[in-house]
Amino acid sequence: MFDLDKFQEIWITITHNKSRSVMTAFGIFWGMFMLVAMVGAGVALERGISSQIEGFATNSCFIWTNPTSMPYKGFRKGRFWNMENKDLQILKSTIPEIQYMAPMIFAGNTNNNVTRNDKAGSYHIKGNFPAYNQIDNQKLIFGRYINDVDIAEKRKVCVIGERVYEVLFPHGENPIGKSIQVKSIYFQVIGVTRSNANINIGGDSMESVVLPFSTMQQVFNMGNSIHFMAMTAQPGVKVSEVEKKVYAALKTANNISPDDSTAVGGMNMEDQFTMFLYLGIGIASLIWIVGLGTLLAGAVGVSNIMLVTVRERTREIGIRRALGATPRVIVSQILTESVVLTLMAGTAGLMFGVGILSLAGKLLENSTGIIKDPQIGFGVGAGALLILLIIGTLAGFIPANRAMKIKPIEAIREE
C-alpha cells in the first residue's frame, strides 16, 4: 500500500535534514558500490578466463609424447618415441567413441622461414588435418581451411595467421591464390585465420602457417611422425574416458609399459572447463560474501546512526505524539525513512557502480588480458535492490522500536 501523503511527509523529513540523511545513507551507498564493482570485476575475470579457451570444443583432448619412464619388452627406460600414421588407423578402428581426430606436426619458427617477394618473417609451421577446425574452431577472414582433397592430393597450399598476412601482404590485398615460400618451397594461400582463443597449440596461431598434414610430412621429410594429436569424443561420451582408452591403445601399439604414467602426455578440455567452472563459482561466492558483508556493515551503520538520530529527535517525535501520532504511525515513519534512505543510497551506489564499470569496459574493450567487459546482469541489479529493501527494513527496526517507546511527556518536558 503506497501512501503518497505519508511518503511526502517522510520526504520532507529526509530532505530538510540533508546532512543527517547523507551521513546515514553513505554506508549503504558505499556498500552497494563495492558490491557492484566487485561483481563486475568478477564477471570480467570470468569472461576473460573463458575467452582464453573460446572456440575450443569442450569434449576435446590433446595428446603428445614424452620419453618413456619404464623399461618394457627389452626397451630401455628414457626412450624417445613418436606417434605415427599407423596409430591413427589403430585408434580409429579400436575406439569408436572418437568423433574427430586431428594429428599435427610442427616445424619451428626458424629465422625468416616464410617469405614472399621481398618480405619475410619467422613463423610456426604446422601440418594439420581438416578435423582440427572441428576441435579448435578457426575464424577465417579470407578463404577456407584445409580440406580432405588437400590431404589426399598432398597439395601445396597453406592457411596463414592474420599477422603473417599483415606482414607479407600489402594492406587490403586479397591473398587467396597468391604464393608464399615456406622454407624455400612455394605454397598457395587458401585462407587467413584470426584466433579467438588464447590457448595455442604449437605456437601462436596468428603467427602460424598451416599446411596440409600429408603435404608437410612429405615435403619436409618427416616420415610418418605425428607430434601432437587433438581429438574429440562422440556426443554423450566423456572425453576423459576416451582419453584413457587412447592412452592404453597407444602404449600397446608402441611397446610402452601399461604402467608408464608419463610416456603419453595430454590434457583434456573437460578438466579445464570444470576447473574454470569451479574457479568462477569460487570467485563469485567470495565476491557475494564480501559484497553482502559490506552492505550489511552499511546497514548496521544506518541502524546505528538512526538510533542516534532518534535520540536527537526525541522532542520532534514527542511533539508528533502529542499532536496525535500513534506509536504505530511513528514506527511506520521511522521504518519507511530507513527504507527510503537505503533504497535511494543503494540505487545511487548501483548507478555509480554501473557507470564506473561501463567506463572500465570502454577502457578494456580491446584488451586480450584476463579481464574483459565488466558488467553486471539486470538480475543482479534487481536482486540487489530487493536485498536493500530487506536491509532497510531490518536496519530501521531497532531505531523504530526505540522511537515507539518515546513518551510524549518525556520528550516535551521543559529542561
Partner: protein, 230 residues
C-alpha cells in the same frame, strides 16, 4: 467539560518517591477560562499533562467530555489528544525543520486529511494569527511571539474542545505576552475551554478563574472579580 475526582500522582525514582498530586478534585465547565498558579514544583505541569493525557495518574477519575480517561492505550490517548485537546508550551515545541505552514498542518496529517486541504486550512489559521506572510519561514527565522502564535494556530487547527497552555508567555516579553493573551482570550470567547498554567499575575488576571495549587493540593479557587463585573 472536565471533572477530576481524587486524582493522585506519585513519581517513583530509584531511591525515593514523590507524591506530586494529592487528591485533586476539580470541575471545569465548557467554555471556562481558567489559570493555574502555584510555587515551582507544586505540580501544575503534572496536572496539566494529566489533563492532556500526556501522562497518566495513579488513582481517581478523570472525565473529559463525560468520557472516563483511565488506563488508555497509547493509541486511544493519541486519538483523544488529536480530537479534543490543543497544546501550547512555554518553549513553543515547533518542529524546527518544518516551516510555519507545515507545523500548523501537522495535526491534520494525523487525521488523514489530504495535503492540499490541510495546507489550505493551515493557511487560514495562520492568516487569523496575522502570520500569512510567514507561512514559509522556519521557526528559527521567527520571533518568540510569532512562534507562539504559530503554536497556537497548530493547537486549535483540529478544533479541540480544550486548550491547555503551560506557561505560554514564559518566554515572552510583556508586550508580546499581552498580544498572546489577547489571542487566547478571543479563542476562549469563541467557545474553547482554556486552561493556562502561569506564574504571571497579569496572565492570571486575564482569566475568569484562578486555581491556586500548593504542595499538590488545590488551595483556593478564586473567581476574578473583574470578569464577574463585566
Amino acid at each position: 467539560m472536565i471533572k477530576l475526582s481524587g486524582i493522585n500522582k506519585t513519581y517513583y525514582t530509584e531511591a525515593t518517591s514523590l507524591h506530586v498530586l494529592k487528591g485533586i478534585d476539580l470541575h471545569i465547565e465548557p467554555g471556562d477560562y481558567v489559570s493555574i498558579m502555584g510555587a515551582s514544583g507544586s505540580g501544575k505541569s503534572t496536572l496539566l499533562n494529566i489533563l492532556g493525557m500526556l501522562d497518566n495518574y495513579d488513582t481517581g477519575d478523570y472525565y473529559l467530555n463525560n468520557i472516563l480517561m483511565k488506563d488508555l492505550s497509547e493509541r486511544q490517548a493519541a486519538k483523544y489528544r488529536n480530537e479534543m485537546i490543543g497544546f501550547v508550551f512555554q518553549s513553543f515545541n515547533l518542529i524546527n525543520f518544518k516551516n510555519a505552514l507545515e507545523n500548523v498542518a501537522l495535526p491534520l496529517y494525523y487525521r488523514k486529511i489530504s495535503r492540499k486541504k490541510r495546507n489550505i486550512i493551515a493557511m487560514e489559521y495562520l492568516d487569523k494569527m496575522g502570520l500569512k506572510d510567514w507561512a514559509y519561514h522556519l521557526p528559527s527565522e521567527m520571533s518568540g511571539g510569532q512562534k507562539q502564535r504559530v503554536a497556537i494556530a497548530r493547537a486549535i487547527i483540529s478544533g479541540p474542545k480544550v486548550l491547555l497552555a503551560d506557561e505560554p508567555t514564559g518566554a515572552l516579553d510583556s508586550k508580546t505576552t499581552e498580544e498572546v493573551m489577547q489571542l487566547l482570550t478571543e479563542l476562549n470567547k469563541s467557545g474553547i475551554t482554556t486552561i493556562i498554567v502561569t506564574h504571571e499575575k497579569s496572565v492570571a488576571e486575564a482569566t475568569k478563574k484562578v486555581i491556586h495549587i500548593k504542595d499538590g493540593m488545590i488551595e483556593t479557587i478564586e473567581s476574578n472579580s473583574k470578569h464577574l463585573n463585566s
